[in-house]
């Protein structure tokens, strides 16, 4: 098993004729992902990296039975691209661009939900189920197939955690970047039930950070519904209030809302195992499993 992406993923790349789109289409293909179609309006009919390019999502889906899409398009075109993919019947969409307006994301979040479509991102490296499929731009050499589910708001911290795990021969079922923006298409709480149901996953690692309430919402769900153990790391305990710390979503509100201490406490109360340093992750996993 694994979640979201696997051997049956038939991927469409929206924006495949762009520099990033074509480069990562070839890398994903090389990893073993079934990249079946590319879409760029007005550039249909050609092939990029051996992948047929279509003018629109409908044509691509009809011809190739694509069931998943990744968008390598600029933030200003992201909303339209996502809506076109949903309209075309795609049920899993990953959008990597950083800087998508939040009003666009709120609308697409609800429209995706209405159509039973899972939207991941923006500002994410994507999803990888090691050994099966990669839908994103992460450097795949550090990942190993295994039984740990990972979800992270930060790309680099997920690499850091995965590297620590793989070095100790601890593999991963699926690693998902929920993204660093303030309104993600899917949050931790949307992924938890998928990991809980997944037979390959035995433990879940959640890498959070300051800002928002996604960790708190996840904590409530964990307490009420999760049987599998969860480990969490929260970045940003030394961050000052009122300052955006790199990710658009990483900000402690004046007054302290979104700070690390509270998040840690709520997670701990929900039975989540907390680590304070990234280097502690492998030992913690070994101890629990």
């Amino acid at each position: 098993m694994s979640i979201l992406v696997n051997e049956n993923t038939r991927l469409m790349v929206q924006g495949i004729t762009g520099r990033e789109g074509s480069y990562h289409a070839s890398l994903m293909k090389k990893y073993g992902t079934k990249v079946v179609a590319g879409v760029t309006p007005g550039k249909g009919g050609q092939e990029i990296e051996g992948v047929p390019v279509f003018n629109n999502v409908d044509e691509a889906v009809k011809s190739t039975e694509a069931n998943t899409s990744i968008l390598f398009v600029p933030p200003g075109f992201t909303k339209d691209g996502i809506l076109e993919a949903i309209d075309g019947g795609i049920k899993l969409i990953v959008t990597v661009a950083e800087g998508v307006p939040v009003h666009d994301m709120i609308f697409t979040h609800y429209y995706a939900r209405l159509n039973h479509c899972i939207l991941i991102g923006p500002n994410t490296p994507g999803i990888i189920s090691p050994g099966k499929s990669k839908v994103g731009f992460m450097s795949d050499s550090i990942y190993k197939k295994g039984n740990i589910g990972v979800m992270s708001r930060s790309a680099t911290l997920s690499y850091e955690i995965v590297n620590n795990l793989s070095n100790k021969e601890i593999g991963q079922s699926t690693v998902v970047g929920v993204g660093g923006d303030s309104i993600p298409g899917s949050s931790f709480v949307d992924l938890l039930p998928l990991f809980e149901e997944d037979s390959q996953t035995d433990l879940i690692i959640m890498i959070g950070e300051i800002g928002g309430s996604d960790e708190e919402i996840a904590a409530k769900y964990i307490k009420e519904h999760m049987k599998k153990p969860v480990i969490a790391f929260i970045a940003g305990e030394a961050a000052p209030e009122g300052k955006v710390m790199g990710h658009a979503g990483a900000i402690i509100s004046p007054g302290g809302e979104g700070g690390v201490k509270y998040k840690r406490k709520v997670l701990q109360d929900a039975g989540v195992h907390m680590i304070e340093r990234l280097s502690e992750i492998a030992d913690m996993v070994t101890e629990i499993l």
Binding site: P101, I106, H109, L114, S139, L157, E160, D181, P240, M245
Partner: protein
């Protein structure tokens, strides 16, 4: 990005929300002329983006117009929480019968737009909510539904069922919602929204914050506020194409991701070492880009040490190392440089740095310990 009151009120006026007569003055003389044109008692309001300007001497009522120039001069010279005013709004003084509070806010947690209204106004909403919770209404709007009449009808009980005022309020809520949508608002607030003696609703103040991600489609507002509130180093970084975060301390963190930089900050904090600034190279940095980044952080006079924390993915450690080696001569010897390289082409990177007598570690904690001791020693080699 926050907007100034005068910018917000210009938008209000365009949408037909009542505001007081008046204009923005950049000098005491201009303030005098505007007051003369108004021809009666005026209110002078310092244009800053921080709250609490009333208490800090940034708002003054002037009944006798001969005193306007002097009062304006004083306000223009008064910094508020460290910020210099960007002009003065000179407004007609207006009689208040009743004060309300109205805002439209994007609630991140609920992923919804919320309308907040109170029949008490003039103080901030947290205070109103504490003192008079029964006088505050919060109405959540489903995104795919948008604002409908029934949403606004829920405010009626708070107005003692006064239909005349309610109908006026309804129009204002609709206009404010249009503004919020059109300008990618995170918050649009009127506090106080006042009822005048002759029954009009007037926006006495206006606050607005727009989504930074949407700046590309809000160019007119962005140009008008021209980055006045930014820290000099953050501005230098922006001009060089980087996101720089200015903090308090002596270490500069250069990293290839926001999360990685943030956890490095945490780790330094555990060793009681403050951070002067954080610079995010983001993915795929070239040697030239690294050299440019070093040049940026060196302009921060607080910096006594630079810590590179790189986890190569798209970013290649050898490219980073080439950049560091290339810039090393330009870094004074009393500034420590330590590097942690991990991921793509790590060993090539470490060897390149060895050639210029710089040790790179693959372990982050070791690197942090290293910079703490070298900075405390005050010498690189």
């Amino acid at each position: 990005m926050k907007l100034y009151e005068y910018q917000v009120k210009k938008i209000f006026a365009q949408y037909g929300i009542n505001i007081q007569k008046g204009e923005l003055a950049k000098t005491p003389q201009e303030a005098k002329q505007i007051a003369a044109a108004i021809g009666g008692p005026v209110v002078l309001k310092s244009q800053v983006l921080v709250g609490g300007r009333g208490k800090a001497g940034g708002v003054k009522i002037v009944d006798d117009l001969s005193g306007v120039e002097k009062a304006a001069d004083k306000i223009l010279k008064t910094e508020i929480k460290g910020y210099k005013p960007n002009g003065i709004l000179v407004l007609e003084k207006i009689e208040i019968k009743q004060e309300f509070y109205l805002s439209i806010v994007l609630d991140r947690k609920m992923k919804k737009t919320v309308i907040i209204f109170s029949s008490f106004g003039g103080m901030d909403i947290e205070e109103i909510s504490k003192k008079h919770p029964e006088k505050v209404a919060k109405i959540y709007i489903e995104e795919l539904l948008g604002l409908q009449d029934f949403h606004i009808n829920r405010l009626l009980p708070l107005l003692n069922k006064d239909r005349e005022i309610f109908l006026k309020l309804k129009e204002i809520v609709k206009k404010l919602y249009s503004i919020y949508k059109k300008y990618d608002g995170l918050i649009v607030e009127i506090n106080p929204l006042i009822l005048t003696e002759n029954g009009d609703l007037v926006a006495l103040d206006g606050k607005m914050e727009i989504d930074n991600n949407a700046q590309y489609r809000q160019k007119s507002l962005v140009d008008a506020s021209n980055g006045v509130e930014e820290d000099p180093i953050e501005l230098i970084g922006k001009q060089a194409g980087f996101v720089v975060i200015k903090l308090k301390g002596n270490i500069s963190i250069i990293s290839n991701g926001a999360g990685l930089a943030l956890s490095t900050l945490d780790l330094l904090h555990k060793y009681n070492m403050g951070v002067a600034n954080i610079l995010d190279l983001s993915g795929g940095a070239t040697p030239e880009k690294v050299m440019r980044a070093i040049k940026v952080v060196m302009q921060d006079k607080d910096v006594k040490g630079i810590l590179f924390n790189i986890f190569g993915g798209i970013t290649r450690c050898d490219e980073i190392a080439r950049g560091i080696a290339g810039a090393l001569k330009s870094i004074p010897e009393n500034i420590s440089v330590v590097c942690r390289l991990q991921g793509t082409n790590r060993d090539e990177g470490i060897n390149l740095l060895k050639d210029v007598n710089l040790d790179a570690d693959i372990d982050l904690e070791e690197t942090v310990k290293n910079i703490v001791s070298t900075v405390n020693r005050g010498w690189r080699i």
